[in-house]
Symmetry: C3
Subunit: 474 residues, 3 copies
Amino acid sequence: MARSSPSLLCLSLCLSALLFHASQARQQWQQGNECQLDRINAIEPDNRIQSEAGTIETWNPSHQQFQCAGVAIVRRTIEPNGLLLPSYSNTPQLIYIVQGRGHTGIMFPGCPETFEESQQFEEGGSGRDQHQKVRTFREGDIIAIPAGVAHWCHNDGNDPVIAVTVHDTSSHLNQLDNNPRNFYLAGNPEDEFQESQQGGRLSRSQDEKRKRRQRQGGSSTCNNLFCGLDSSFIAEAFNIDESLARKLQGENDNRGSIVRVEGQLEFVRPPKRIQEERQLQGGRGLANGLEETFCSMRMKENIGDPSRADIFTPEAGRITTVNSHNLPVLRWIQLSAERGVLYNEAMRLPHWNLNANSIIYAIRGQARVQIVNENGNSVFDGELREGQVLTVPQNFAVVKRCESDRFEWVSFKTNDNAMVNSIAGRTSAIRAIPADVLANAWRVSPEEARKLKFNRQETHLASSRSQSFRAAAA
Amino acid sequence: MARSSPSLLCLSLCLSALLFHASQARQQWQQGNECQLDRINAIEPDNRIQSEAGTIETWNPSHQQFQCAGVAIVRRTIEPNGLLLPSYSNTPQLIYIVQGRGHTGIMFPGCPETFEESQQFEEGGSGRDQHQKVRTFREGDIIAIPAGVAHWCHNDGNDPVIAVTVHDTSSHLNQLDNNPRNFYLAGNPEDEFQESQQGGRLSRSQDEKRKRRQRQGGSSTCNNLFCGLDSSFIAEAFNIDESLARKLQGENDNRGSIVRVEGQLEFVRPPKRIQEERQLQGGRGLANGLEETFCSMRMKENIGDPSRADIFTPEAGRITTVNSHNLPVLRWIQLSAERGVLYNEAMRLPHWNLNANSIIYAIRGQARVQIVNENGNSVFDGELREGQVLTVPQNFAVVKRCESDRFEWVSFKTNDNAMVNSIAGRTSAIRAIPADVLANAWRVSPEEARKLKFNRQETHLASSRSQSFRAAAA
Amino acid sequence: MARSSPSLLCLSLCLSALLFHASQARQQWQQGNECQLDRINAIEPDNRIQSEAGTIETWNPSHQQFQCAGVAIVRRTIEPNGLLLPSYSNTPQLIYIVQGRGHTGIMFPGCPETFEESQQFEEGGSGRDQHQKVRTFREGDIIAIPAGVAHWCHNDGNDPVIAVTVHDTSSHLNQLDNNPRNFYLAGNPEDEFQESQQGGRLSRSQDEKRKRRQRQGGSSTCNNLFCGLDSSFIAEAFNIDESLARKLQGENDNRGSIVRVEGQLEFVRPPKRIQEERQLQGGRGLANGLEETFCSMRMKENIGDPSRADIFTPEAGRITTVNSHNLPVLRWIQLSAERGVLYNEAMRLPHWNLNANSIIYAIRGQARVQIVNENGNSVFDGELREGQVLTVPQNFAVVKRCESDRFEWVSFKTNDNAMVNSIAGRTSAIRAIPADVLANAWRVSPEEARKLKFNRQETHLASSRSQSFRAAAA
């Protein structure tokens, strides 16, 4: 016993460090009153870029609700056999796969190339390829991408991949200004957030480039990282010919940032037997932090499968959360997410986000939502429909009610261990307060105070069935 | 030995993590020159709101010294049997109890209701009440309230409770803008910081509300969280009638945020035998981080009792500090405090705050204070009187001298492990410098350099008696 | 095995805490577009202050590249037997010793005076001196100074000491605004950053002081910390005469902040036998975090010695890094550094800084440098010469090529564990990507894709010899 006590003490200190340091260090660019929101709107993307094999839609990050939350949002649609070119961003990203499946490569500096072609496979070729781990993804996955880490993405399914990404521009991991940036290693992509930078005004260099493009009759811009380097430098760096070096600059490439793969994309991957795959994905419970190194770190977690639900009420719906406790990389990027489903007329009970802003993306169906600020004003009272985004600032109260067969959403939260405080239900703040305090606070009778505390036995989710039950009981 | 070394290593790493991560992550809203302070003033509250059973006074947070320090300050006076309604804030708070005693409930999401009525107690009633832990407080207590955590407060003594609260608006735990906000669950409170928001300008919604109030002849505003929700939604959420739901909105409640309890406030509390209480309060030394969970975390520490002094000089006074080493929750909210007493004409020796801004509240008596900036300019040279607030920015030099029988103060510091560097005395920076460096720096003789280092043997506090001793010795 | 698992788990948690919490919490003052850099310049200092025994040169911190990186830069030249007066800053500092050697005293509050004069040494004097640890420094040393910690510096060699200092004004450890400040305990120094504060505008008090100085015909300003305190207060605090107190204010001291020591500077120091010294400096490998306390913390690390190289390519050059893994105090101040040497025509392969801004100071020789932003624009394409500073913002691509016999530089990085991602070479992002993804991304043949991945076998550094090798092989 005595021998183990230092370990225990340490463990305890470590755990409290985990607790206390969850949610360190978000910056806020806001000098003034960015969160003095009189009105929030449910909004759809206001910019769309067509690529060869997909589209990129962005929400203007200068909307006040995104300025308050410190985020930028993108939705990418990648057609079958489309390849999202390798890029990295100055912000950490959390990606939710709304639909489809594919592979993604996330390149960590200094990590070995652990996927290697077999000798048999390419005997006559010009040498065996080897590369870093490639990960699969599928509908319902949350994928975490740290700031500055490059990644690519390929759709190897039969349906388009739809992915919604939140860039945390306020993260301390972004040491540039509050503009989201994507740095592409290849292709000739348009800047997804171009129009919103500089408050709608084009920067000088962008303007010049645009003019140059016009003069030259269209397509001869060059936007990837190699464009700013001399081709002789590139040739020397890669130890290649200058003609190949110039190909890296992609001068006449009009395919955009999502390109169509010619034939089938070939890379090393482990056998895809379903049995093995299930085993891998079910292995989450075994993760104890010991087997994970920087290079083999788990970067995704499925929160779409009903069986993964953290909160489940058969009549009302379910909620699944992912945070740094079940996906440790989130401690690094300090974001988390919640996936929810409400059945017909069910309600997500009123609550506030204790330590995070929440950005809701509506996946399916529609809901009526109310959001209340510190003055008791309703800053949003309306419908939230499929494909729309709605921000719930920290501490603002919010209630959702399904207005279709089924309402599904994903909420991105600006804290790796986001906490919610319910206002009604079995785990609510109201329930935690002595009945007599409630009676005095609201000038209600002791019996009414008890009703407020104990009439709603569900937590977080409630169906309208229980309401009729109440009507009968009352 | 070998076996225990991983534990020790770990312990060491943990401890160094504690050291290194103390004081992470304060944001500063300041873009420009908020701390280019030519003049600091000792100021009294400039706004006062009268409630049914108490008053709330605020210092305008747009004063430059508060903008520099990133704080907002409130003083609440709660009359006997007054109840401060449950609310939470977007900022972490540190509260000092200047006077009085009472109970407070701090509601943590997900924590169980651990206080339960006994079966005998309310046999004929409509069911036993149960609620989360209720804590006592008394004069001299520092209470920590994390951002977004709701709490209420009741005065069960015979004297008014006077409590001074510092909101850390620059904390990374506040993900909204730099305006302090209070979200009330009940009542119809006026916004304590209303006039200071938007730089004195009213927001549109506040203005509308004010106009509506005027049209309707006064009191029918609605400011608590339930006001922004439909009463039908509230009814459904709590599984109650709509008429009760409307009572939560407190439409005609003119009592403000501190209300008078009718009769006696009833809630579950452990027996109050003095012996037990002393035992509980004396138990601080046993706290080792093991027995504390999130739900039973210690939230307060008494720094008023003379016996708790950390620095004590019989002729000069005493200083008591509370930081994350003796109140671990402060690591979470990253604030700490110092309580001081100076006797007649004694001096708090000149020093600077190494890693924190300091906000001094004068509890009793008056002192002469000088504050010096980086240019050697005196930005404050005057009296600090009971009830006034004075900010000492990080690294600015400060000296205090008692100008009455007794000067008492509390300093709130924007770092959970605030450090002070003395300029004179036994533990001072001057003493740490070789005498010959001092002689060359100030062009004084070796003997004078030694006087500078060794003439003042006290640390932090010095009485004027030692000065006369000097006069005699010189 | 089972017994040790808590320790291991804890160890793992601790280590992951180290990993995850490295680089917490940099603030960015930038509200807007401070990093929308169309053009970066290699710049020389634009302000110069002459002191009695040295000069201080500063780069104007309002240059856009420094605003983006959140830093201020100073170069100090201390003549032999010159003493830099004791001061502290509101920002953490990282100092690189370009040339020379000397002693420095870094004063930690609360730490004991561990260097004590022997009884024999000063038997007839007015008592033995004692002071805190004094550290030696020499060419190639990186010295870390936390915010608010006072230090002095003495040149005891025969050559001038040249030291380049980066102030991290964006650090969360600076709780004032983004202006770098130096607080001097002695002397009468001019403000190094004076002209840049307030955007070139003088603050009122500075202006008044300047006017007063003009009225009084020159030198009678007073800028150290004691100037703002009453001399009677100082006398009382130090228990000295007022005439000595007035000497601390240094009214007629025109020596500036670097003064000439009269005779030899006397202080306690351990014997300087070369054998012992070597042993001490070679002891870095033994540092395991256990033997270090706050007071004896290692504050410096030599990165100039060739034998300390982390990356070495005989034909191309070498790179030495210092970060929180080999100098733990850097975890506290969250900065790190890289020292590099390129031989004739060798190249630092293109790369980006994953998680830090980088501020390059050219120590010797000259190089051609290209820097590319997220739009593929070259924001810098030119020469970087000895004595110039160039900022490479986070994620911007950069390549350097030696254009003289030898190019030497030091890069200061705004992260205690700065990571670099190579674009070319054996450990590059390109190498981590499957060849077929590259082929599709750049529309090159499979064979060309393999060349991009495998033609350059070096990491980080490559000589032009290998290029000619390529030409032969091609």
